[in-house]
């Protein structure tokens, strides 16, 4: 019995760590730009495949795989800013929120299919992965899961430090809290947006490596985590980073138990039901405040 609980907890916490990492990227972009980046899923896939190319195709060491994922994600984020975000902010600022959602849906589909056409649709093995397991009395914990949770936590802490202690981080937070005031202080808002998208892209890229290590490397690998991460952001209150992280772990563990008890297909439906119930009760999310969003 205990080993079952341990197994489920391990599964839940691992997915929780992955969702949490995904929510950080999404929340960052939403909070500072009012943008739901529907291309985020494709960025996860991009990161996973970039690592694959670096390690399997080019024969470089696994660490370089992570670096490749970072780089690919950052580059994609920058491309998103230049080709979609900046033009849309200039041409139709009032409808930005919805326009950018649609445009990123398109961009995400295009990227996912570009990956599909480049690598093919058959599942590949993510080379940046760890083997083995830790054995305890209560059960075994695969090394892979420990690595994933560790990497995710390290990245989240690093992001928190970046946002809280650096000048760039303060500028990002200022832009998120009051864009016009930030401009008055001399903050180059366009450059902040670029930085946020690149940062979010980097996190997405690494997240993709982690996801594909535990499941498989296929082009649509990011769709499920992204949708769930979004839902978790929403339930916490969009823009509330700590809340989203807490919600990610909590809901992921619940999902894991539901999947164990009722079957894999019921995980997401139950999750969604919980989220909708919470939103009916508190439309701004569990910890959110009704914010007046201005673009």
């Amino acid at each position: 019995m205990a080993s079952v609980v341990v197994a489920v907890l391990v599964a839940g916490l691992t997915s929780g760590a992955i969702y949490a990492l995904a929510t950080v990227g999404l929340s960052l972009v939403w909070g500072s730009m009012g943008m739901l980046n529907m291309a985020h899923a494709a960025l996860l896939a991009l990161g996973g495949y970039a690592a694959f190319t670096a390690v399997t195709t080019l024969g470089l060491p696994p660490v370089v795989g992570f670096v490749a994922a970072f780089a690919a994600g950052a580059a994609a984020g920058a491309l998103l800013y230049v080709s979609i975000v900046r033009p849309l902010l200039r041409s139709a600022p009032a409808a930005f929120e919805t326009n950018v959602l649609i445009a990123t849906v398109g961009a995400g589909i295009a990227l996912e299919n570009a990956i599909l056409m480049t690598y093919g649709g058959q599942p590949l093995k993510q080379p940046v992965a760890a083997a083995g397991a830790f054995a305890f009395e209560a059960g075994t914990i695969p090394v892979q899961n420990v690595v994933i949770v560790t990497v995710a936590v390290v990245l989240m802490v690093a992001t928190a430090l970046l946002l809280g202690r650096t000048k760039m981080g303060r500028a990002i937070r200022a832009t998120a809290q009051n864009r016009e005031a930030a401009e008055l202080m001399g903050v180059p808002v366009g450059r902040v947006y670029l930085q946020v998208l690149m940062l979010s892209g980097m996190l997405a890229g690494v997240c993709g490596v982690l996801v594909s290590a535990i499941t498989q490397l296929t082009p649509p690998l990011g769709n499920d985590p992204m949708l769930k991460a979004f839902i978790m952001c929403v339930v916490a209150g969009l823009g509330n980073l700590p809340g989203a992280i807490a919600a990610s772990f909590g809901l992921a563990v619940i999902e894991a138990f539901v999947q164990y008890a009722a079957g894999a297909r019921w995980g997401f439906p139950v999750l969604l039901f919980i989220v909708i119930a919470v939103l009916v009760w508190r439309p701004s999310g569990l910890f959110g405040r009704a914010q007046i969003r201005r673009v």
């Binding site: 979609i84 849309l88 445009a103 398109g106 589909i109 990227l111 299919n113 969009l238 997401f268 909708i276």
Partner: protein, 355 residues
């Protein structure tokens, strides 16, 4: 001080011109629709036109919901599928005729959507998009992973929701019995009629007090709310109406093809609808129809391209949004305004009254 432009007759004249233009376009479309079966010999082409009519109907409903009422729902195909599945299941399990099943399915779809709407519509914009997307995803996954045998049909196992295979051969419009070889024309007439009626009623909704309320909400939300416009109830009403017609279209779709499966719920179908609306012009009444014509034609042209189809679709959506935020119809209006301004250079660059 410049003399203020008097309350000029221009707005009224422009309104009448707009209405007459709409009427003219409608007339042309109806004439074309009626003439089509006589002009077109190929069954394939007629079949594709029927498919295009379905797309146009759904896209018009999505445009009504999003472009006019501001409800960003990504569950449009789920609603469509609900109508189709409800129709198929009523026929399959209870032996109903499609003629009875379709309206009932449409009502059921509207009812189910109202429930979803009650839960989701108190949230703003993008939250609704996320939740409706999630709901559509859940519906798709639950159907596709349904493996439990519900009934035995002959020697094969049938799932309650039809599973990955879906439902087939549960009944049709009876056109084969009536028109024999020309049955497709009969179905075409039904589908075209459904499209015409739903588009007409959509037009009425847009021009109705509800539609005006939405324009007020869009232009000046604080003022509209102060005057008693309740965004929630108005959006819920449009949500229900649009769901009814989308579900209706879904039922007609199932009856026409005599099959319904989880494929309609796939993301690429939703994408096609969104692309149609975006290319045509979100919030423009004729946008979806223009978009359908353009994209179905482009899709036909890209038929050879195979895998590039989805990639191309993604690029089209992103590029259209960035380069033409108001779509083709929007560009057309810009051009018309530009030409009109050039024709009247003497008029002072007057303060244009809020239309």
């Amino acid at each position: 001080m410049m003399p203020e432009a008097a309350a000029s007759p221009l707005p009224v004249r422009r309104r009448n011109t707009a209405a007459r233009a709409d009427l003219a376009v409608a007339f042309v479309l109806i004439a074309a629709a009626v003439a089509l079966p006589f002009l077109v010999d190929s069954r394939y082409v007629l079949g594709q036109v029927v498919l295009a009519l379905f797309y146009a109907t759904v896209a018009t409903q999505w445009n009504l919901l999003f472009g006019f009422a501001g409800v960003f729902s990504l569950a449009q195909m789920a609603v469509f599928a609900f109508g189709g599945y409800a129709t198929a299941m009523l026929c399959f399990y209870f032996g109903w005729s499609v003629w009875g099943a379709i309206p009932v399915a449409a009502v059921a779809t509207a009812a189910a959507s109202l429930v979803v709407g009650l839960a989701c519509l108190r949230l703003t914009g993008v939250y609704v998009a996320l939740l409706t997307l999630a709901i559509a995803q859940v519906m798709y996954v639950l159907i596709v992973t349904d493996t439990e045998c519900f009934v035995m049909v002959g020697s094969t196992c049938r799932q309650f929701t039809g599973g990955a295979v879906g439902f087939a051969r549960f009944g049709d419009f009876g056109m084969r019995a009536l028109l024999k070889g020309q049955w497709l024309v009969g179905n075409y007439a039904i589908v075209a009629a459904v499209f015409a009626v739903t588009t007409f009623i959509t037009y009425l909704v847009v021009k109705s007090p509800v539609g005006l309320a939405f324009r007020a909400l869009k232009d000046n939300p604080a003022c509209a709310v102060a005057r008693g416009v309740n965004r929630f109830t108005a959006q819920l009403a449009v949500f229900g109406v649009s769901a009814f017609f989308t579900g209706l279209a879904g039922g007609v779709y199932a009856a026409h093809f005599q099959a319904i499966g989880p494929g309609v719920l796939s993301l690429s179908q939703l994408l096609f609808i969104v692309a149609i609306a975006v290319v045509g012009g979100v919030g423009q009444f004729w946008g979806p129809i223009v978009g359908t014509i353009v994209l179905v034609a482009a899709d036909e042209a890209m038929r050879e391209a195979g895998e590039f189809r989805t990639l191309g679709l993604g690029i089209i959506i992103a590029a259209s949004m960035v380069l033409m935020p108001n779509g083709l119809v929007g560009r057309f209006h810009d051009l018309a305004r530009f030409l009109a301004a050039r024709r009247a250079p003497a008029a002072p660059p007057a303060v244009s009254p809020a239309e």
